[in-house]
């Protein structure tokens, strides 16, 4: 019955397309890693040079779909919750079997990796001599198995959904008072110190990003700060941001915020956060490549664009959060 749900079909189809295209690309990726030699004029080398256009184009679309699939997965899980006893939002739906949360976590991890691959690919396309070809296919060799595992987990999750299973609601999964597990541990973090820590991270990240943008120094630090911002923000959503959005002092769910009751604000926050994190990580990925002759003039411009993108998104995230806290009827 659940297999006929449009959301499930869309997710499984996307997962299947991504997995098949990934296998196809990985096949040529391995050949490129093993046989690529730009100095050679052999027939195989020239075939690989032509093939890399096709593979890069395929991967660009596949990874773009991979980025989208994270939000599609959350949307579907949220959409399915009325069908299951006990589920109040995506949190309960994902808890229906052992594969829901591992799929989500892997999707989040693969989102970052896919984003970094797209950045590497973009940089590689700016050079006249395929300067990053081996690096981007080496990264593909890491990403491809993870994406295939993700596809397997996603199939196991959706195919394993049983309507007669009673699941837990987000109130117990992300409770500061009862329950155990990571969700409850994060929910139990004291909101007061967490607010200070969150705004401290906002300040350090934005300041280091601006400094790097204006002076061109401290790129690695800003990249690291971006990841800290990303993780701190996820924890903060569970710890205190959610409380202000729901205007309930005990409701810590990170999934209910994607519901229409809260104007889908969760999507806005998560999309900004994830894209900013990818841009932030992309900076540290590109900095070591600035010495490559054909990218010497390209990398500084690219890192500046990534810095500005992540700064705008981090600032936007912090502003929306601050506005919701200020406008909330909850007083703590």
């Amino acid at each position: 019955m659940l297999l006929l749900h449009p959301g499930v079909i869309a997710n499984l189809l996307a997962s299947l397309i991504i997995a098949v295209m990934m296998l196809y690309s990985a096949f040529y990726g391995v050949q490129i890693l093993r046989h690529w030699d730009i100095e050679s004029g052999s027939e195989l080398q020239l075939v690989l040079e032509r093939k890399t256009y096709l593979v890069s184009t395929v991967l660009s679309y596949v990874f773009a779909l991979q980025l989208l699939s994270l939000f599609m997965y959350v949307f579907t899980a949220d959409n399915l919750h009325p069908l299951f006893v006990g589920a109040m939002c995506a949190a309960g739906t994902l808890n229906l079997n052992a594969f829901g949360y591992p799929t989500l976590l892997l999707k989040m991890f693969n989102f970052i990796l896919a984003g970094v691959w797209l950045i590497l690919n973009h940089a590689d396309n700016q050079g006249y001599d395929y300067p990053l070809i081996k690096k981007k296919y080496a990264l593909l060799a890491v990403v491809a198995p993870l994406i295939l595992i993700e596809a397997l987990l996603e199939f196991a999750y959706f195919l394993g959904l049983r309507a007669d299973v009673i699941t837990s609601c987000c109130g117990s999964l992300f409770s500061s008072e009862q329950g155990d597990g990571l969700g409850s541990d994060l929910a139990a973090l004291p909101p007061g110190p967490m607010i200070w820590f969150f705004y401290g991270t906002v300040f350090v990240t934005l300041a280091s990003g601006l400094y790097y943008y204006l002076r061109g120094k401290g790129g690695y630090f800003y990249s690291f700060a971006s990841m800290v911002f990303f993780l701190t923000s996820i924890v903060s959503i569970i710890s205190f941001i959610s409380l202000y959005i729901y205007e309930l002092p005990t409701h810590h769910c990170p999934f209910c915020i994607v519901m229409s009751e809260y104007d889908y604000i969760g999507y806005l926050l998560y999309i900004a956060l994830f894209i900013a994190a990818v841009a932030g990580v992309g900076i540290a990925t590109l900095i070591p490549l600035r010495g490559i002759e054909s990218l010497r003039e390209v990398i500084p411009g690219l890192t500046r664009k990534l810095t500005m993108t992540s700064l705008v998104l981090f600032f936007g995230f912090a502003s929306v959060v601050t506005y919701r806290i200020a406008a909330s009827n909850l007083i703590m």
Binding site: I38, G41, S42, E43, Q45, L46, E49, R50, Y53, N125, Y128, D129, Y130
Partner: protein, 223 residues
Amino acid sequence: MIELVNVKKVFNAGRPSEYSALNGISLNIEENKVTVLTGPSGSGKTTLLSIIGCMSRPTAGRVKMRGREITSLPERFLTDVRRKSFGFIFQQHNLINGITALENVMLPAYPLGERRSALKERATRYLGQLNLQDKASSQIEWLSGGEAQRVGIVRALINNPATIIADEPTAHLDTKLSHRFMEIVENFKAEGRTVLITSHDPLVYKSSTVDRVIKLRDGQIEE
């Protein structure tokens, strides 16, 4: 200098219709010289010319231009090389009907984003150098064969390329116009350009303007 290293070109590889047009051509083409590729029909002249001019890629082998390897370049870089380094003169002229001679000449320069007034001034000046100033605003279909070919030559020059590539340029010209064409080639040489021509017209490859004749047969050099 343009250097070719073991260039091969196979069409329809792996199919029953597989055809090997070039079989390991290694060649150096000197700058500021007129080189003619000659040979019977099907010997690989046009294929070789299109590879040198970055209009197609070899199946194997490399082409270097002034020491820079160009066969491996990604397409968008190759377009840049093609646009700025080569001017093409075609056997069939390949001019666009329905627009004027001046517009045809200016067309290859549009992607470079030059100011239109400067471009128009240059195109008009070049047309004047080949006695076509009166034909600038004429539609292509109104021109004679010789005039159309000269418009094609001016179009090849509009981006000021270092190398002019001409594929059977005199095939559709009478003797007088063929001599006129070779005079124009002489001027190219005087301006410091490299000229590469395919032709099996004796009037071309026996001309005193030509510095080197390379004979091709069955995709190989017969020199």
